[in-house]
Symmetry: C2
Subunit: 500 residues, 2 copies
């Protein structure tokens, strides 16, 4: 007779309850090789249970190798000496050192990820940290219509393996859309990716060999840094001024360094918010042309220029096919639907398409079709017009508050002409970044620590302010709070910089 406890209210099926309890008895030695289980008839009587339930439990035990089947019965406990039992040693964890098995490049990357990752923002704080579009503005009803339209009126193709380059109508609509930014391209010069990050990974995978150098602005997009650790590549970073990447410094560096790629964000650079001029873009492109260096242009919020004349993407001037242009729906629409794109010369897009095919077969057709509908119906344009005014208003509130509350001799901030972020720099102070960020948090505001964006660390302290997610009503208050924190913290004697 064996003791089995049945819980009829449990969501776990009865046969599994029986089977698991017997397994446990075998594993902890209460039942041994050669022992016999009660017949299904007697156990069903004992447990007051249907006999087929017992049979199902016994079949399970057999299938898992716990019992031997002999002349139609499954009741004899089998030797499982080859397998380790759950309770014998190994303390329940794995006996493999998985962490030790991770490759050195992935381990370095993981370590770096833990440094640059922006933790979720405490809900009680005013969020000037996240660079994710304001969900209050999302055109959910319109977009849901595009999803159902794709799911219900589309054909089965959307549920099948698709083109590795992405859903063709979306690529066509994107080519059309890019013309509004004067980028003349066609569907076969575009590949759809799972957001910008996977676009960057795809470009790196295709073009970076171990030991290669890539040039970026300093500071730059933080998530580049761990990825380049993975590819065993070195970042050579060039100071960014109010005009953008310092091109004299770039030309100087190029005398000795032959980079595999240059990465730039000409509009509202993340984190600084700086936008480059037409002349700057022409000069950067011509440097790349002369030196034959592919240029990644990350146009992550191309749509959100608030002030000043339109300045066109570098890609729009790219007659020689030097530019790998990255676009995404994640920074104005839905990050969770992971849809971005690369526009580049056809020859290169074809290679990327095969590489994508080898590593993930294809993308998510249904989501791509929904975005395609959203573009072709004019809803995207309508949405961008709507949010443009709202974000512009938030940024103008932020700039007004900064003029009022961030007016310190030892503090500078950038004045972006669009996008979501601006950049605060503090010098000659007696405290470090962690202290500053914590003091601001303690006062009720979350900002993003500058060190997450630096390739080469800076002597000054910095943080990024993002107006993306905060309510317009909270922004002025939050910046007033930051000003109060900065005013209350000690400064050094003139000329006594403390490294941050």
């Amino acid at each position: 007779m064996i003791l089995i406890k049945i819980d009829k209210d449990s969501s776990q099926p009865l046969y599994l309850q029986i089977s698991e309890q017997i397994q446990l008895m075998i594993e902890d030695g209460r039942l041994k090789q050669g022992d016999t289980l009660p017949s299904s008839r007697s156990l069903s009587t004992q447990l007051e249970m249907n006999r087929t339930t017992i049979t199902k439990a016994y079949e399970n035990l057999w299938a898992m190798g716990y019992t031997e089947s002999q002349s139609g019965s499954y009741t004899r406990i089998r030797g499982r000496e080859l397998l380790c039992s759950m309770t014998s040693g190994e303390s329940g964890g794995s006996s493999l050192d998985w962490t030790g098995r991770i490759t050195p490049s992935c381990s370095r990357m993981i370590e770096k990820m833990n440094e640059v990752r922006i933790p979720p923002v405490d809900g009680d704080l005013i969020n000037l940290s996240s660079l994710s579009p304001d969900s209050a503005y999302w055109p959910l009803e319109d977009f849901k219509k595009c999803i159902t339209q794709a799911a219900f009126n589309g054909d089965d193709y959307l549920f099948s393996y698709g083109d590795p380059a992405g859903y063709l109508p979306l690529r066509k609509n994107l080519a059309e859309y890019l013309r509004t930014h004067q980028i003349r391209t066609s569907a076969d010069e575009i590949i759809i990716t799972s957001g910008s990050q996977s676009a960057i990974d795809l470009v790196f995978r295709s073009l970076l060999k171990e030991g290669d150098v890539i040039i970026t602005e300093n500071p730059t997009y933080g998530y580049l840094i761990p990825l380049l650790q993975y590819y065993n590549c070195r970042i050579e970073s060039i100071e960014i001024t109010e005009e953008g990447m310092n091109l004299d410094a770039l030309e100087h560096v190029l005398k000795t360094v032959k980079p595999a790629l240059i990465y730039t964000m000409p509009n509202f650079q993340n984190p600084t918010g700086i936008t480059t001029s037409q002349d700057h873009r022409e000069r950067l492109l011509s440097i790349c042309e002369r030196q034959k260096i592919p240029l990644i242009e990350d146009g992550f919020v191309e749509e959100l220029k608030y002030t000043g004349k339109t300045i066109l993407p570098i890609k729009s001037m790219d007659k020689k096919g030097m530019v790998i242009y990255l676009g995404t729906f994640s920074k104005v629409l839905f990050p969770g639907l992971r849809t971005g794109w690369i526009a580049a010369p056809k020859e290169y897009i074809e290679k990327l398409s095969t590489i994508k095919n080898s590593s993930e077969l294809c993308g998510n057709n249904l989501t791509q079709a929904a975005f395609s509908n959203f573009l072709s119906s004019g809803l995207f344009e309508k949405y961008v017009r709507k949010i443009h005014g709202r974000y512009k208003n938030k940024m103008s509130i932020a700039m007004g508050a900064a003029r009022k509350y961030l007016h310190f001799e030892h503090l500078n901030y950038t004045k972006p002409s669009g996008g979501y972020t601006f950049w605060v720099s503090i010098r000659n102070v007696n405290y470090d970044e962690q202290h500053l960020i914590r003091a601001i948090e303690d006062a009720g505001v979350s900002v993003s620590p500058g060190s997450k964006y630096f390739v080469q660390s800076s002597e000054d302290l910095h943080f990024r302010i993002s107006i993306a997610m905060a309510d317009a009503a909270d922004i002025e208050k939050a910046i007033e709070i930051i000003g109060g924190v900065v005013a209350g913290l000690p400064r050094c004697e003139e000329g006594n910089n403390v490294p941050g």
Copy 2:
């Protein structure tokens, strides 16, 4: 006066038509640096057009750097000597050698992809080639309800950045579902991926260093081969017999080779359709335990066992945490929604989650929520019950036809107990694989050439037959046709093998 042709019926905005024609004139030299465009007033009169349209066209030209703005006018053609014109040399293509820039490992991989890729099947042929579920069985209406339920009743979270490990309710539902295969796991031991291929890529990325060896069955899943070229790893392949990977041969190889991974498909192996026994699984697992080798178990159609007793996944016996179990919705449900998963020890899943975070931030929340609803509502179970009978019927028709029409002394075929594929081997013939495949196609049937699955080539000829997509009604006819082709092709004299 300049000549501009306007097409009022074109979908291209009027201002763009004007702006592009002027650009062209500048590029081909009809307009030169210092030339002046007509005033917007005079051009608007000439073209019988609203003046604001002309102004917009001129603003565009300025924004692209074609004209200079002086005291409010944009009409003077600017020097663009830094930029190359579209028509000067370079034959319209890129002046960068993009193909030459692709890294050697990606180039090798692309080359191999072109070998293993299965081209789309001509619609006139009976398709015994594709390993993609039959769309005729798809529960589109049920699934669309799950999508709209997720999109309309879910919260905004689904459209935001999500957990890199995947949507938590889906992971919980998968853990529950895996219990039906006796795999005891929890949400934090699961990561959601964009299908199985990206799961494999993620595992390779995390564990494979250049020069590492991975052990697979020979033949094996074709798309592994190019991916391993990318990782600069070597496949050591072990012959598969009717019992599965030859474990004696494996133990022999392990005396001299220390592989980073072993990859196996214990159920209905792709391409051979072979299923291993309980004993085989225990022995393979115990080899991995003794030698501390992580084991990838690809459970791609775990659900489709037709005959014989249930045999459980190796993962269900994995007390020591050696097994990386791969599952996917692509092979029974929708390939186009790219949803698969990895079940493995928590410590390892956490690393994979950070790696995924670094290379694509997160997955597609909305799709994951739809699958989660599909699982939790019991619709997946209902669907699997339905298709199980249908595919079983197709396989039994195929096996019946094979007994009748593939009965040759020089031909063997496997007899799968589940899944979609079986494997045909032909020896002692006087023709090569290409000739055979073409002859079968000319007769109206598409099968998958065996060489796409071989790591080490085989002397015999092989092809894979898949019953996944063909109509039940066509399968017998198709196999009769194949039998006819084989009968009509020349054989060698006994003992005169011609290498395939």
